[in-house]
Subunit: 113 residues, 2 copies
DNA sequence: CCGAAATACAACGGAGAAGTGGTAGAGTCC
DNA sequence: GGACTCTACCACTTCTCCGTTGTATTTCGG
């Protein structure tokens, strides 16, 4: 679990790439939708109201990053969450956001008028 | 700590933006460098070997996101980590990367020849 | 005061990614 | 076997953002 301190460049690139994959609203929505369980491309298209091409492309990116899994089922393709730790990441970010909002609130209400 | 399930669009945007801020090699390096303690822009420029303008710009982005803190000290400006949870995020990502590598390794060594 | 140093800001060019339209391949139903 | 559906790929346009160049601003030393 030890991580080298002067982070080597390749590792920095990997980490950055990982974050960039999740740093896309459409992909976050896809992951959130898949939280209910596996779904086909068509189902996700209906749920998110996006184009089929767009959904398929983003699912491809998520699959390539190993975050979602792909399984052919006849004509359909079912996608599912492959890396559950993604949700922990999102929750942590949400926690950070909440804390910032709280601090701001304290400054505005309890601090200098 | 409960997070709404059909993630509302504004929250999705916030989360995505947060991830995009960290999804930059230069910014990750800056955060890693600040792990040793506060530092001025010039010190970071020397350590990372990047241009002053570039370092300053990325520090500005990190500061605006509330991830680093800014403190003027004469002509110098000292930056420091304001949101320690950033490191937890990186470690979690590193853990995910490690697990993927491990699984790949198992497939290559123990699986089908 | 005046010059030098440290930092931030504005503008520009270029790379990379997102979204769209069209289309091809794979599979099912009649 | 033919038509229809589902999914992925390709070409294209647009937009965002990174890094650089040039410059303004603030502060310290003489």
């Amino acid at each position: 679990m030890e991580i080298p301190h002067p982070l080597p460049d390749p590792l920095v690139e990997l980490i950055a790439q990982r974050f960039r994959v999740i740093g896309e609203p459409m992909r976050i929505k896809l992951l959130d939708a898949l939280r209910d369980g596996d779904a086909t491309v068509g189902e996700l298209v209906d749920r998110l109201g996006a184009s089929q091409q767009n959904v398929s492309k983003h699912l491809g990116i998520l699959a390539q990053a190993g975050i979602v899994s792909r399984a052919k089922d006849g004509t359909y393709v079912r996608y599912g969450i492959a890396d559950e730790s993604i949700f922990a990441l999102c929750e942590q970010v949400c926690g950070g956001l909440r804390q910032q909002v709280t601090e701001l609130d304290q400054i505005l209400t309890g601090g200098a008028a």
